[in-house]
Amino acid sequence: MVMIGDATPAIRVERLAKRYGRVEALKNVSFDVREGEIMGFLGLNGAGKTTTIRILLDLVRPTAGRAFVFGLDCHTRGLDARARIGYLPGELGFYGDMTGEATLAVLARLSGRAIDMRLQRELLDRLELSPRDLRRRVREYSTGMKRKLGIVQAFQADPPLLILDEPTEGLDPLMQEAVYQLLSDTRRRGRTVFMSSHVLPEVERVCDRIGLVRQGELVLASPVDEVRRLAARSVRVLFNEDVQSSGAAWPEGCEVLELAPRAWSLRVHGALGPLVAMVSSMPVQDIEVREPRLEDVVKRYYRDEAAS
């Protein structure tokens, strides 16, 4: 008997490793995803995101380590684990000669959970897939429509865990917005979402935590706010008249980018107080502060990976 409660994470990955011949796709990856949170899984192409997702679905068998969904081993209790998962693959393998309606019907019957037709209707309405669209063959669908159909099939059984591989790829900005809203509502209803994405502003907006894989290793797993704090704030101090840097020591955490007579560009780690105190006696016209973005941190990791 497996207890599902606060103590059991929705996903637990323990020392996961996967080797394809001489290529190590995953190296000793461990992390948890708590129930009710949205975790973004980031990394460059080939970093190991999809391999991790496929191990969770028991489509790929790990070379070492184990993966659990709500405490259920993804391999030995795969049926029970997958009964709790809704999955949106990165590459959608719909049959082109089937209609959208028939595709949803087949996948609904295979899901092992009763489909709430009201929920399905609501999903279709939110993603603007009309009954007329559903009567068309999937081969006539645009990339975005296929992605929308994929989202509906993943969400329609209202599973407690959603695993989404690039959920907004190919969607227009309005539909992306609809998906963000859907994810937000899903979290509100206590569902857990584990999603991979390349769109960093999207991850920053919808995710509670992120995990970053680099060359098969998990190099970062933290709440988004904490990750953001790893980056410095950009500060631009504008003056009414020309000023000269006094030559005094800069406050701790201040990094000078550019010093022009009427504008200083700085990067500040930590509190702004010492910098404000320093310039308080100067003819300050304005101080512009740009909050750090997730992108700043993640791109730094990406650059490191590219360099290595």
């Binding site: 049926l79 997958r82 295979l110």
Partner: protein
């Protein structure tokens, strides 16, 4: 699993109906040809037209073939019919490879389905589709025999027609099993189909060579077609259960290999 069976059958229903009707029509046509030759008293002339070396190579079965029953039974071992039916079995048995290739399997196996369900579905579809084809062939033959056989013709018994159909079923099962084993390991359906098809063709040619050229006879035992002897049934001999068992054993081995491979592979 039944959902998958229904899904697969819906996808191939048009091909099954067309092929089944063509096969039934072909069997019916053969009964008409046999009746025509009987009325024209042409079997003797046909036998005389046969070159000596062919008659020698074929042995007494050549005479058996030049009869009303022989012509009616032709549809159960004609190379075109065997090609069509073995081709159908290969096409169905490689469906798992096709689903891996198109990634449809990602959508199905991400749900609470066992991998063995995918293979079991393919087996069920193989049995249903093969059974339907053979049933339509037997129906075509029997309709022709019932409505249009000349009064003086010695009509083949229903038991003989069923034996011929079962003999053909064992060949279909054998190649279905082989193709399933290949299709369970492959990532591309075209590759799996081509490999299974090439194997079947090579096996057919090897068997043909063994029948036509004495030194190759022992080698021809390696071919599954060596264990397919419909003419002995036409000649009145009893159904050889050992031949059928050999072909069904190959089918079983292929199926087991397919199950094990598909269960263990990365998808």
């Amino acid at each position: 699993m039944l959902v998958l069976v229904g899904h697969s059958l819906r996808r191939i229903r048009a091909a099954l109906i067309v092929l089944g009707l063509l096969l039934a029509a072909f069997q019916f046509l053969l009964t008409q040809v046999a009746a025509y030759l009987m009325r024209q008293n042409a079997f003797g002339q046909l036998a005389e037209l046969m070159p000596d070396f062919v008659r020698t190579a074929a042995g007494p079965s050549a005479l058996g073939f030049m009869s009303y029953t022989g012509i009616v039974a032709l549809g159960y071992f004609h190379p075109v019919i065997i090609t069509a039916l073995v081709g159908l079995m290969i096409a169905i048995a490689t469906e798992p490879a096709g689903e891996v290739e198109t990634r449809f399997v990602d959508l199905t196996l991400a749900r609470p389905l066992r991998r063995l369900d995918v293979i079991a579905r393919t087996l069920v579809v193989l049995v249903l589709a093969g059974g339907l084809m053979l049933a339509l062939m037997v129906a075509g033959t029997w309709t022709g025999l019932t409505c249009c056989a000349p009064a003086q013709a010695e009509r083949p018994s229903f038991g003989l027609v069923l034996s011929l159909a079962f003999s053909l079923a064992t060949v279909m099962a054998c190649w279905g099993g082989v193709a399933l084993a290949i299709g369970s390991a492959a990532r591309r359906r075209a590759v799996a189909g081509a490999v299974a098809g090439a194997l079947a063709l090579a096996a057919y040619l090897l068997d043909y060579l063994g029948r036509a050229w004495e030194p190759a006879f022992s080698m021809s035992r390696l071919s599954p077609f060596h264990y397919f002897e419909p003419m002995t049934l036409v000649m009145g001999q009893a159904f050889d259960a050992r031949d059928a068992a050999m072909l069904l054993a190959i089918a079983l081995a292929g199926t087991v290999a397919g199950c094990v491979t598909f269960s263990r592979r990365d998808i």
